[in-house]
């Protein structure tokens, strides 16, 4: 006795036909793309940026990512001496001056739903690391800054096609 399927018996022939149909279906499915990964699968881009030690600059001060990507940005406050807090705030092309003014007027405390802000990390103390994530908008050069040092700590996120 065996559990092996006998193709010569009527029952075995039925099973073999069923397996054949399943195989055909699988083949057609793969040919028609039913098993493909979705074309629109979002690309994930990890970016890292930090303060230049205790100095008021970002390192690096330019970043690049493709449009539509899910950007996971990590900001590290690399200061060791000065207790100033920093963050990373992304704004729209042409809106840098308005955001600088906003940040200066509000002493670095920007509203969570500020219409000028695309994405922002929380403020952090020296030695700390914070993150934010966002979907990269349409291609262009998007300025970013630190809300507590908006005139000094600035940079550009190049969003490519």
């Amino acid at each position: 006795m065996s559990n092996a399927t006998d193709v010569n018996s009527p029952c075995g022939a039925h099973l073999a036909r069923r397996e054949f149909l399943i195989a055909i279906f699988a083949l057609l499915s793969s040919l028609l793309g039913c098993g493909q990964r979705p074309k629109s699968e979002q690309r994930v881009v990890d970016l890292f940026i930090e303060s230049d030690g205790d100095f008021l600059t970002f390192r690096p001060d330019t970043l690049t990512c493709p449009t539509g990507a899910l950007v996971r940005l990590t900001f590290h406050h690399a200061g060791k001496i000065i207790s100033a807090r920093h963050d990373w705030v992304l704004t729209y092309p042409g809106k840098l001056d308005a955001l600088v003014k906003d940040a200066l007027d509000k002493d670095g405390v920007l509203l969570q739903n500020d219409p000028l802000v695309i994405a922002a990390t929380p403020l952090c103390d020296k030695g700390q690391t914070v993150t934010t994530q966002f979907v990269a908008p349409k291609p262009g050069d998007y300025p970013f800054l630190c809300s507590t040092h908006p005139e000094d700590m600035q940079g550009i996120l190049h969003i490519t096609k």
Binding site: D54, F55, L56, T57, I82, P93, P143
Partner: protein
């Protein structure tokens, strides 16, 4: 004869001055010293900017950061000979006192011109501190540090 005597005195003074300033290579942590001096300049420039923009309430905050930068310098020279550390401390205290005075004035006499005059005196005190260090480690207190560049094109 008198001229030779004067020359000898000047030469001796020059030698004494050179002996008092350690070469950068002789310092135990030249990079930390350079960084701390640069930080002092950065904060001093922030003082000036707050006064220029009449953000007088921000001046005490800058003073706090100046004190932190001063602590950074103390830490950077902690392994240097005691007599050099004493000289640094004396000049550093003079600079700290001058900046403290500006900070106090910002709340009692919030007058931009007077504060700028006070700041100029503080910069002079900071220059005297910088004179203790080798020239290649000294930032120019009157030159904005690299962080104060123009905004990126937006």
């Amino acid at each position: 004869m008198k001229l030779r005597k004067t020359q000898a005195v000047l030469a001796m003074a020059g030698i004494a001055l050179l002996a008092a300033i350690p070469a950068a290579a002789q310092l135990k942590s030249p990079d930390d010293v350079k960084s701390s001096l640069k930080l002092l300049v950065m904060v001093s420039n922030d003082f000036k900017r707050q006064i220029t923009n009449k953000n007088f309430t921000r001046v005490p905050h800058e003073n706090m950061e100046y004190m932190e930068a001063a602590d950074g310098l103390r830490s950077a020279v902690k392994d240097e000979p005691a007599n050099f550390k004493a000289k640094v401390e004396t000049k550093l205290k003079a600079a700290l006192t001058a900046y403290q005075k500006v900070s106090d004035m910002s709340s009692t006499t919030p007058d931009a011109d007077k504060l700028m005059a006070g700041h100029a005196k503080a910069v002079t005190a900071m220059n005297a501190l910088f004179d203790l260090f080798p020239a290649d480690l000294r930032p120019d207190p009157n030159t904005p540090p690299p962080s104060h560049r123009g905004p990126p094109k937006n």
